[in-house]
């Protein structure tokens, strides 16, 4: 018998399909926050590079970060990161079900706990570097 061949069905969609509805735009903006996360990683690598090269390289890297282009890039990346954190922490109850002796903890508490943890971790990290 001849082996049947299948062709993947693909619905034709316009490239900008996500721009037509607010919920779709929300989806694509959330997906694009990955660029902010990647941007952070790359800048972090250059930070490490400057630190491994010595005090002079570190100082010149700090002055590069002061350029208007970098400030604007960081502003955009920062708003993306905030959007990522909020959407991610809000989704946590969907991925995690917590129970204490058969009593189901409501999603609201998980989200609230996430926000408290986020706030405390943020303050802790900032305090390490401010002194």
């Amino acid at each position: 018998m001849e082996k049947p061949t299948f062709k993947l069905y693909q619905k034709k969609m316009p490239v900008l399909w996500w721009a037509k509805r607010l919920s779709h735009l929300h989806f694509i903006l959330r997906e694009l926050t990955s660029l902010s996360v990647g941007f952070f990683a790359v800048v972090g690598i250059f930070y490490l590079r400057a630190l491994s090269k010595g005090a002079e390289a570190y100082e010149s890297f700090l002055s590069i970060l002061q350029s208007p282009v970098m400030i604007v890039a960081h502003l955009i990346a920062f708003s993306g990161l905030l959007f990522h954190s909020v959407t991610w922490l809000n989704l946590a109850p969907k991925a995690m079900k917590l129970k204490i002796n058969d009593y189901k903890i409501s999603g609201g508490w998980i989200v609230a706990g996430n926000y408290v943890a986020w706030l405390l971790l943020s303050l802790w990290m900032i305090l390490i570097f401010i002194q």
Partner: protein, 117 residues
């Protein structure tokens, strides 16, 4: 073009772990190092102090994990953004290789600097 479905849980785990650590840690760090320090609201840590801070192995390991997981979070999510957002279903394999390859390469680069600190 066939993908390797058995690898998906592995990529998704890295994506998920990266999503958690980046949600908790990145906003404050980026605000501090990318905005507050360059704009002069906070004084930049002196080179020696920063260098000392990064000396203990667990700290370097944590920084390496933070960067690596962030990169793989980016790779996985951006891969699907390209598939779905730009309708590039036909290029699944090259896109996957490009995304994860970039994340892997940059992770090694970060590791190289961390070992040379």
């Amino acid at each position: 073009m066939k993908s390797k479905p058995y690898l998906e849980p592995f990529w998704w785990t890295l994506f998920g772990a990266g999503g958690v650590v980046s949600a908790f840690f990145l906003p404050a760090l980026l605000f501090l190092f990318g905005l507050a320090i360059p704009l002069g609201w906070v004084e930049a840590p002196a080179y020696e102090r920063f260098y000392e801070l990064l000396q203990p192995l667990p700290i370097r390991g944590a920084v390496g994990m933070l960067i690596t997981l962030s990169l793989f979070h980016w790779a996985h999510r951006f891969r699907f953004t390209l598939y779905d957002g730009l309708q590039l279903q036909l290029w699944r394999k090259p896109i996957a290789i490009l995304c994860y390859g970039t994340a892997l390469g940059l992770s090694f680069w970060a590791g190289y600097f961390l070992l040379n600190l």
